[in-house]
Amino acid sequence: MKIKITTKELKSDFAEEVKKRSGIDVKKCYQCGKCTAGCPVAYEMDYMPNQIIRFVQIGARREALTSRTIWLCASCITCTTRCPKEVKIAELMDVLREMSLEEGLANPLEKNITTFHEAFLNSVKKHGRISEIGMIQEYKMKRPKTAMQDLLVGPQMLSKGKLSFLPHNIKGKNAIKKIFEKCK
């Protein structure tokens, strides 16, 4: 891998932008790697959590925002809890995901995850609460390869009365739609 740092990259000051959006100062990180050491999903990541912070520190915007790591972070917050320098690493992942989506850089290999988030939020937007069946349907339609997964779990859940076909619409449905509009 080669990270190219040009005046353009420097001018954009990625770290400063992250700080402005989230209050997280990546300069505090001294790269001890404790976040990586305790990360339960690190084994699946393309870059270790400390490397993602490093990308932000040195202004490697594209590398950070196109990584699979930011999507694989399970938000368990072990890293933030144990960070000796009190860098909010899990919260940093949130900001990077947000920026990645805004800039259309989300890694296609983790499309399952982004699609899940989309389906989840669509359901909330529509009903005010989650309609589990509706959400799963949308997800499976958009990710047909997952359609055959959990074929047995669904019916079992239905038989136990744990899935309801009828979505629950809250009275303030419109208020929720407005929230989505205003928080675009």
Partner: protein, 295 residues
């Protein structure tokens, strides 16, 4: 507007544990136990989904607004405390409350989006806090059954404890509140190592493989420590450990048969409430051994 203060606790079930949802037995048992030993819970009118990980992972402002709307609704109804038994919800609500407290600009944006003020002052508590603050004496008083030789591994997962600086609940590395409750029911706590590990949470559909690996580690550790069952207080943890347990067994070539019970169900059994009224029939892994231990 004069708001009448309520002594009842505002109940915010969240989507996963309401009737007809994947983890309804958690809600059922929480309400059933409260009916028996208090405190009085009252559902917050017209609550909405907190947005869970999908919102905070992709849109911080949206995540905060969705959560704060519920707090503001509770505030307007005069509740001083909100119980959110699902840690995903309680953590989102507390973190959002903290975020708007720390960020004036965010607070303005959120109030604008939800078209309600958000003044703070409402305390959000998780289910373990509710029991520890209100019910320990009642459990001791009204306990009818003591299980015979039932060894329980208390599993906290992530969001009851982290981030500790904001949640300020128990020791993040070696919590003990669930064990205290388990022991109050008469069961024995086993000392085990992975009680604060992550189960993979929201990846259950999108990255099932990750969930299977993490839950396998957890189940293996609990089994090796000699646990008869694992107690949880989180619908995500429950879903991953219970619903996925058979699949884990296949994937990792080790057969597990460990009932995963909600802490509320355990309390209910000690109070001699009917297993079905607690939703113990809704689990994927048969809970009979646990129910029988209380016989």
């Amino acid at each position: 507007m004069q708001i009448e203060e309520k002594t009842k606790i505002g109940y915010y079930p969240g989507c996963a544990i309401t009737m007809g949802s994947s983890s309804e037995e958690y809600g059922t048992s929480v309400l059933r136990v409260a009916e028996e030993i208090g405190p009085e819970l009252e559902e917050i009118h017209d609550w909405n989904c907190c947005g869970a990980s999908s919102a905070h992972a992709t849109n911080h402002k949206l995540s905060t607004a969705l959560s704060i709307r519920n707090i503001s609704l509770a505030e307007q109804s005069g509740y001083k405390e909100i119980l959110a038994p699902c840690p995903m919800c309680s953590q989102r609500l507390i973190v959002s409350q903290n975020d708007v407290e720390e960020d004036e600009e965010l607070k303005k944006d959120v109030e604008d989006a939800i078209e309600m003020p958000c003044n703070g002052g409402v305390k959000i508590i998780n289910y373990l806090e509710l029991i520890k603050n209100y019910c320990m004496d009642e459990i001791a008083e009204k306990k009818k059954k003591t299980p015979k030789d039932l060894k329980i591994a208390s599993y906290y997962g992530c969001l009851l404890l982290r981030p500790p600086k904001v949640l300020k609940f128990d020791d993040p590395e070696n919590p003990t509140s669930m064990e205290e409750i388990v022991e109050a029911t008469g069961a024995t706590s086993v000392d085990w190592e992975l009680k604060t590990n992550c189960c993979g949470g929201g990846f259950t559909l999108s990255r099932t493989d990750v969930v299977l690996k993490l839950t396998n580690d957890i189940l293996e550790c609990a089994a090796d420590a000699g646990a008869d069952a694992i107690a949880v207080a989180c619908p995500m943890c429950h879903a991953n450990l219970d619903m996925r347990q058979k699949k884990i067994g296949k994937e990792y070539n080790r057969k597990f048969d460990i009932p995963i019970v909600y802490i509320s169900e355990l309390i209910g059994l000690a109070l001699d409430l009917g297993p079905i009224s607690l939703g113990l029939n809704k689990h994927f892994i048969d809970t009979e051994s646990v129910v029988n231990a209380f016989a």
